[in-house]
Symmetry: C2
Subunit: 487 residues, 2 copies
């Protein structure tokens, strides 16, 4: 069976062939760490986590690099004037690295809660200034960049004239780009408004600055990904991922930089996750629907009816294909919460099933269909639909409507272990080191309730049932005994 | 009240006066991240966490920098020869950054479990090569370093002749150093065996390498701390900390580097934590007593009788002054576990105390004594002894042998919040989001047991008590009702 992935560059699904199997190099654009992680971070985090997990599951040795953009544009109070700033003690000044590390930790904590695996390497832009300067030098040598007033710009028109490549990823036509480019700081230094900065001279109040052959300054944003992907994955690697919003100018410019510095494009497969909307609208601070992941987990944003657990969010995101748009609403999240609960309850009920001599269900077929879905460009919603099918089978097995033999039961257990937990990366949020204690206590109370029922003390029995319910423990009487679930 | 700290440089306790109050700059040598965190990491982690917490508590704005040493000495398989190594795809090669980030995460996870706060900034050596090269250039310019076969060495004899400072921290005499220096790689390049590398030319098989004016190579180990402390705290900062094992040559060499590059010593206060022994012996891989923190928390090392929780380890370390040696043994850890349990139970029992009109206890005096102990060079064992005194008061209050008024009760609550939790950094490992459920279930069972006792069904009552005990819930009947504790 072979894996097909949708390549944004060619606009088709292509057979995935790594350059140096079994190694796979995966580079994904990571967060800018000058603010809290928000809903917009959850989707690329989870989408590429799925690819990392699945590629590993099918036997590849994946080196997954996701950068940290920490070269920010923080400035000292410019009212103070250059002299005063220079005289200020280092300790009294704002330290960008302190802010960056604070938000990096917050971002990683949120990703941990979402059960997003840590990438193999998370290099930071500020830690790779030398490597970025080297690439600027190479592009200058190749003749596709120029120095202007201490800054270095990439010469987009020359590159386009020589290679006809600017726009190959985003399908933009350069004439359109020129017309739509707004007047920004430093535009007068450029030969052409479409040119982008490889190195910027720092203004006196700019805090993050390094020495370079051109000025004390800082690298342009597009450059860090070219430098760090080349350093850790090689100048040509397998997959470059990111959000669809990064297609232009960021990824388009990365291609241009690689072509001029290394003589070829950086990657064989460009993969982009689609965007999230909230109740049909784009997320934005001005629209009042900007939700941080913390607000989502705590339910503290005004447009949320309640808190949604990290696993609810993860499951909700996986219920759509990564290339589809995805709309967040309370209704949709509630539905995801319910669906996930059903799957997890079915998985917990697995231990109640005893193998039979007969077998009336086909688990291997479900496993096969899950593989086919993932091999078709990581189609997680289809995988989830088959897991729901398996949950139905579990319920029918418990009710005695189907039979399963030992081998089948093993396959059914493995189906959930592999697909729900390992590949989809769901974890049972109820499991905790306190669970054995809770299970023991609930069992004691259920036995005491059975005593009351044996004595026909129905009032006591009901009272215990209600008290348990108020603690979130719901019990269900059936002919096979008493079962319970915890909310 | 004023804070006194023991300064290793002067061998006395000195009044602590920061350079730019209320700012305090604190630099501590962090871990080398090419192996698992072990017992030897716990003590500096916790000792300087206490200083960070206490300085913050008394009102300072602390910038705490702890470096990550990730410039390691990993080598490609040198049998392959330079050519083959160069031809190998980047992805097929060992990537030091991947290993470094793996162990950095393991280290930080262990520190999180020990409730060690994250420092403000954790800069990595590999991310600050430019800054290190700049300092090498300064020392060369000052005439205290020389280039030899692509490497740069610090000229210890010239420094000693001009300044008479080499040895001021470690009290070593240079003649002794020369005699005890072993023959190591690169010694023939040095003018003198005591000279140390500022920059080393990389051998072909050496993986971590950067361009420099002298060679493709990597910085010497002592250099990173000079570069990163200067970058984030200034060329002169308040406190430099680390383990006593770093006194020579590491810290001695840092002083030499700062004196030559900046014209003065780097810090006003040198603070060193003492070492840990295990059953009286030094810890070492050859002695079979090398214990990782994970083994300690899981009890999986052969010399451990059981697992010890991170808070037991933390409490144990705090029961000795940071400048005393500390010997780990099962007996000592068990005693710490018992002591901590006593304190935490007393703190949990606080909510059972009702304020009275009378007051027979003096909580403010205990608080005052805790402050005095911490102001005397962070004397945590004395603080703990006063908390035990407060625990005794709580027990006497519950038994009615003492009385406390509303204000006193507030002070008693605050005493534990401030000293046990905020400053000593202990957390109650039993608290979990499952605790309300457990409390509710236990309450139900205790009520059912009271019903059984009301019916004189002593057998049932005992059965429930025993079943609870088997789940770790111990109940205690007294004239005031039933109380319980969870193991």
């Amino acid at each position: 069976m072979e894996l097909y992935v949708y390549n944004t560059l060619t606009r088709k699904k292509e057979l995935f062939k790594p350059i140096n199997p079994p190694n796979v190099g995966l580079y994904v654009c990571g967060p800018t760490v000058y603010g809290d992680a928000h809903l917009g971070h959850a989707r690329p985090g989870i989408s590429f986590d799925i690819m990392f997990r699945y590629l590993t599951f099918i036997g590849y040795k994946v080196r997954y690099v996701r950068n940290i953009t920490d070269v920010g544009h923080l400035e000292n109070d410019s009212d103070q004037g250059e002299d005063k700033i220079a005289k200020k003690a280092r300790l009294e000044q704002l330290e960008p690295m302190e802010i960056a590390q604070y938000y990096t930790k917050r971002y990683l904590d949120a990703m941990d809660l979402l059960n997003v695996l840590r990438p193999s390497i998370q290099p930071s832009a500020s830690g790779h200034i030398m490597e970025q300067i080297e690439i600027v030098e190479k592009i200058l040598e190749a003749g596709y960049a120029y120095v202007s007033e201490g800054s270095v710009y990439f010469d987009v028109l020359k590159y386009q004239n020589d290679t006809n490549k600017y726009g190959i990823l985003s399908n933009r036509v350069i004439e359109d780009m020129l017309q739509t480019t707004r007047e920004l700081e430093g535009q007068h230094e450029k030969r052409n408004p479409a040119d982008f900065a490889l190195w910027k001279k720092a203004q006196p109040e700019h805090i993050m600055r390094w020495k370079s052959p051109w000025s004390d300054g800082f690298p342009g944003w597009h450059l860090e990904c070219t430098a760090m992907s080349a350093k850790y994955l090689g100048e040509k690697f397998d997959i470059h991922g990111g959000g669809l919003d990064l297609l232009f100018p960021h990824h388009e410019s990365e291609i241009a930089q690689s072509v001029c510095a290394f003589g070829h494009e950086p990657t064989n497969y460009w993969i982009h996750n689609n965007m999230i909307t909230i109740a049909g609208q784009k997320m934005g601070k001005s629209l009042g629907n900007f939700i941080t992941l913390e607000q989502l987990f705590n339910g503290t944003h005004k447009i949320l009816n309640k808190a949604y657990s990290p696993m609810t969010i993860r499951f909700f995101i996986l219920q759509a294909h990564y290339r589809s748009t995805l709309d967040f609403s309370n209704e949709a999240l509630l539905a995801a919460e319910k669906g996930l609960k059903r799957l997890l309850e079915a998985q917990r009920n697995l231990k109640k099933i005893s193998p039979s001599k007969e077998n009336t269900v086909n688990i291997n077929e479900i496993n096969q269909k899950c593989l086919e879905a993932m091999n078709d460009d990581f189609n997680t919603p289809i995988v989830i639909s088959y897991l729901f099918e398996a949950a139905t089978i579990i319920n029918r097995l418990i009710e005695g409507q189907e039979k399963i033999d030992e081998k089948g039961l093993e396959a059914l257990n493995k189906l959930f272990d592999n697909w729900l937990f390992e590949i989809l990366g769901i974890k049972d949020e109820l499991s905790s080191n306190m669970m054995p204690t809770i299970e023991g206590l609930v069992k004691m109370i259920i036995e005491l309730r059975q005593d009351a029922r044996a004595n026909k003390d129905w009032a006591k029995s009901d009272e215990l049932r209600d008290k348990l319910a108020s603690l979130g423990v719901k019990i269900k009487d059936s002919k096979d005994g008493v079962s319970w679930t915890l909310d």
